[in-house]
């Protein structure tokens, strides 16, 4: 084994060590052979670690030191809204009255939890301009699928079974077409214009009697506001389709434009992005869905309602698409989002969007002379640069991303959206100071210079991380997806 390898917890095991403190068994001991059929009693123990509590803490502390989070440094990962995760959220979510309650307790014993959920729904309705909100979906993609299933139910309830297609822009997140497929639709792609916006002529060409919905992110994944949103809504509604809002980029438009007012019929939000979930290393998220009145009957059940000053779940929803998740959604994440919204208030949320957009535009203008900017106009909360100028000099966007690691930054999202060559999608968020933005921009400018003067240093980056570039081909060709105890 290489001397610099970080030990796996399994490699620290020593028979006889324990890391737990279980209650003492205070009822008469019974041998399992008296209680279970012999062939269902486990004879070979699972090979789990045998380590002390200090071993565990040191192991995970070492792992955390090999991980970059927002608290470690700037994390301008486009489309992910890597803003600061407030600590009050973590405290509130751990209150015993929120963390240690069971979803099937009598409703009268959890009125505080239900009140919070209800009030969060009310706040999200106002923020999105929708008529009702469900908190059940567990994440953004789950919300997309939920929304599409409701659109499907809406069409089918009207006896309209010919709507088999969902339209998505070529710049859409991968989850959009995947969610459409899982909901049983066929995906049709609509092209972007040379302005980086949905090509209206192409949209007119692909819509029809078979259109179930158009899925749209606004601002789109290039960070540009779809100015012709009302025209697009009209095109879709005219043929009887529904307009779906992917809320991944809501941070760009809070208090500036509401999906409900733009003509959207269904909206999902990513509470772990705009509303400081946090991101958790890839989840858990929360993906509430908002709808307009005509889709209300199809909401997943149960629906939380207020009756005579008490909150209760309504299961009597005959047209509901059913359950999309056991229980009521990722409550713990919803508590955090609610805490955040209440910490910000109306003026705070407005400032969030304004500063997020100001920060993005400032960075874009400072970087513009040094990189190609395919769409030269005001961006919203993020912008996409192209590395094609650097590519001509033999340095790819991937190399520049790796070089940023040497400066202590998490790189932007790269090679996305797919319609920008060598794309770098940068989203600073509103919680970063001007000093941080300037330092990052300076690093980017230095890298652009290095590409011209000393490209090897970029091509061979990173130079300062605990490992350098990994052999991904080997990982895929000979997959090793778990550890086996050495014989």
């Amino acid at each position: 084994m290489h001397k610099d390898n970080q030990a796996l917890i399994f490699e620290l095991t020593k028979e006889g060590r324990v890391g737990y403190s279980l209650p003492t068994l205070d009822v008469p001991e019974v041998d399992l052979s008296e209680l279970l059929p012999a062939d269902l009693i486990r004879t070979e123990a699972a090979e789990l670690p045998e380590v002390s509590e200090l071993d565990i803490m040191r192991h995970y502390t070492a792992l955390s030191n090999r991980n970059h989070g927002v608290d470690s440094g700037f994390y301008p990962l486009g489309s992910c809204t890597m803003k600061y995760n407030p600590k009050i959220n973590e405290t509130v979510a751990r209150f015993p009255g929120f963390a240690n309650i069971h979803p099937l307790q009598d409703e009268k014993t959890v009125q505080g939890a239900l009140a919070l959920m209800f009030d969060l729904q009310e706040h999200l309705k106002e923020i999105t301009g929708m008529d009702e909100v469900t908190l059940q979906p567990a994440a953004g993609a789950h919300g997309e699928w939920t929304g599409l299933m409701m659109i499907r139910a809406y069409h089918e309830a009207r006896g309209d079974f010919k709507r088999t297609k969902v339209i998505v822009p070529d710049s859409a997140h991968g989850t959009n077409p995947a969610s459409a497929t899982v909901a049983g639709f066929e995906t049709v792609t609509v092209k972007s214009s040379d302005q980086g916006l949905v090509d209206l002529e192409d949209l007119k060409r692909v819509v029809g009697e078979d259109t179930a919905a158009l899925m749209l992110t606004n601002p789109n994944t290039l960070g540009l506001f779809e100015e012709q949103i009302l025209e697009m809504a009209a095109i879709i509604h005219e043929v009887g389709g529904k307009l779906y809002y992917d809320g991944a980029n809501l941070n760009a438009v809070m208090s500036k434009a509401r999906p409900g007012d733009m003509g959207f019929d269904v909206v999902h939000l990513n509470l772990h992005k705009t509303f400081t979930g946090p991101h958790g290393g890839g989840g858990p998220g929360s993906g509430p869905v908002g709808v307009k009145n005509d889709l209300l009957p199809y909401l997943p059940k149960p629906v939380l309602v207020k009756k005579d000053d008490a909150y209760t779940f309504d299961y009597d929803r005959p047209d509901s698409i059913g359950r999309v998740k056991p229980f009521y959604g990722n409550f713990g994440i919803n508590v955090r989002a609610y805490t955040y919204i209440r910490s910000m208030g109306p003026d705070g949320l407005k400032a969030v969007t304004e500063y997020a957009v100001l920060n993005a535009n400032y960075m874009m203008r400072r970087l513009q002379p040094h990189f190609d900017l395919p769409y030269d106009r005001h961006c919203k909360h993020e912008f996409v640069l192209s590395g094609r100028r650097q590519k001509k000099l033999g340095v790819r966007t991937l190399d520049m991303a790796k070089r940023l690691l040497d400066f202590g930054y998490h790189p932007p999202t790269i090679y996305f959206p797919l319609n920008v060559e060598e794309g770098m999608m940068i989203e600073p968020t509103e919680t970063e100071s001007k000093e941080t933005l300037d330092a990052f921009v300076d690093a980017m400018i230095q890298i652009a210079k290095e590409v011209e003067e000393n490209p090897e240093i970029v091509q061979n980056a990173p130079h300062t991380t605990v490992i350098n570039r990994l052999d991904e081909t080997k990982a895929a060709r000979q997959p090793v997806l778990r550890y086996y105890k050495a014989e």
């Binding site: 014993t109 899982v182 500036k256 290393g281 056991p326 713990g332 994440i333 208030g345 005001h378 490992i467």
Partner: protein
């Protein structure tokens, strides 16, 4: 606007506007058509200071009856188990919880290695070859198992036992609707999957048979007898399993499961009113390339050092887009980390001991209930839940238990008409003998009362 999360000063703002070459922030929003522009501010509650908001929300939380204050006999898929205190200390390290998906492996080795270890632990407990990096929860994981099986076998029918969690079955039905897959339920017999019915119902159109182990009633299904029936028809065996029970029970993998899913909530994750929990998804090697969600694999860097990366991504939505078989993107990474820490703390010995304690304490509860004259509905082998017939309505009984500091069991009549007047009682290692005795006394009190009025 001054706010502790917003570092912008008026000086910063001025300088930045100058660099951009505009006079006001408003100009940056000039591309939003006048007609859709939102004027003013949201009509929502005003911002609160840190301390006053904390106080308000603490009061709201205190309105809920939590398991720190009440002894809970409620399970039904979510359990009050021992949570090693170290779990919260590890997941509170913000290098973990403020990171996102480990797309840049050089600065995400901590998360990647933690997931690799999670995959290993789940594989070990379930006896499966491979596990993924997590799913939303046990219910959606089971639904995804159905989708995988339908795709793999090219068959359009799922058989799901009625002894599977009712809410998981509901989620399976919702997912199946999207894919136009038929879902048929296998009836119950004595609190187990009816094997004769299964034998009769299975045919070459069935993609998978879904069994819960231990099942919703706490009964340990005889997977050994079920397996040949399923595979005999060329279907896949999907098992939904409480991983904590597998410290004592023969693993689904050893009993021939093709897919094992479930929820790792029993390992260190709070009940949290039903979420976030932590779904897991494990398969045999032959299904490796069809697993939904993220997988972490081991490899080496240019200098031969061991490292970990997201791998086999060609399965996933961001590469395959509309050809992907699952749309999952964000999963439950932080809770997978929590479960890993709990599984590590319990370790090889503790996972056996905790599982055994659950069985033995539940057995004690069963004996005491019988002694008190109550009828136990199903006499088969159990894990940590049993079904008891109550002499009064379950709701009335639960109200009385609550007044005495206890959260009673699940009212089975809510999901099974034939089981109205039956309570599903969970006894974890957390319940003391005293608490169990108090519970029995309360539930039996009514029995005597009824007897007295009839005398």
């Amino acid at each position: 606007m001054k706010h502790r999360y917003l570092p912008m000063t008026s000086q910063d703002e001025k300088e930045m506007l100058e660099t951009i070459g505009i006079g006001s922030i408003d100009e940056l929003f000039s591309d939003i058509p006048e007609k859709v522009r939102f004027k003013g501010e949201y009509n929502i509650k005003p911002a609160k200071s840190e301390s006053s908001l904390t106080k308000e929300l603490a009061q709201l939380a205190a309105q809920n009856a939590d398991t720190n204050r009440y002894a809970s006999f409620l399970g039904a898929g979510v359990y009050d188990h021992y949570k090693p205190i170290i779990v919260d200390h590890v997941i509170s390290r913000s290098e973990f919880y403020t990171a996102y998906t480990p797309y840049q492996p050089e600065i995400s080795q901590g998360e990647l290695q933690a997931i690799f270890e999670f995959q290993t632990m789940i594989s070990e407990l379930t006896g499966m070859d491979i596990a993924n990096s997590s799913m939303y929860d046990g219910g959606t994981a089971l639904a995804e198992a159905g989708m995988l099986a339908a795709g793999h076998t090219r068959r359009k029918k799922i058989l799901v036992s009625r002894a599977v969690h009712p809410e998981s079955r509901a989620v399976v039905r919702s997912y199946a609707l999207g894919q136009s897959i038929e879902v048929v339920e296998i009836p119950l017999k004595d609190g187990h999957t009816d094997m004769d019915a299964l034998t009769e119902m299975i045919d070459e159109n069935v993609a998978t048979v879904m069994i819960q182990y231990p099942n919703f009633f706490g009964q340990v299904e005889n997977l050994k007898a079920i397996e040949p029936i399923v595979h005999g028809a060329g279907a896949l065996l999907s098992v939904s399993s409480n991983p904590l029970a597998l410290g004592a029970l023969t693993s689904p993998g050893q009993l021939g499961a093709d897919i094992t899913v479930g929820d790792a909530q029993p390992f260190g994750i709070p009940e949290a009113f039903g979420g976030p929990h932590c779904g897991y998804f494990a398969v045999t090697k032959k299904l490796m390339r069809k697993v939904p969600g993220r997988l972490v694999g081991e490899t080496t860097d240019e200098e031969g050092r061991r490292g970990f990366v997201l791998t086999l991504q060609a399965r996933e939505q961001h590469i395959r887009r509309d050809k992907a078989t699952s749309n999952i993107c964000s999963n439950q990474a932080l809770n997978a980390l929590a479960a890993s820490v709990a599984m590590t703390a319990l370790g090889k010995v503790g996972t056996q001991e905790i599982a055994k304690q659950n069985i033995v304490k539940t057995h004690y509860m069963k004996q005491q209930l019988k002694k008190a004259g109550l009828e136990i509905a199903f006499e088969g082998a159990h894990f940590n839940e049993i079904v008891v017939k109550t002499k009064e309505s379950v709701k009335q009984l639960n109200d009385r238990l609550f007044e005495n500091g206890m959260i009673g069991g699940y009212d089975l009549g809510l999901s099974y008409n034939e089981l109205s007047g039956h309570m599903l009682v969970a006894v974890t290692e957390q319940r003391t003998k005293e608490e169990i005795d108090a519970f029995v006394q309360e539930i039996a009190a009514k029995v005597q009362e009824v007897g007295a009025t009839h005398a």
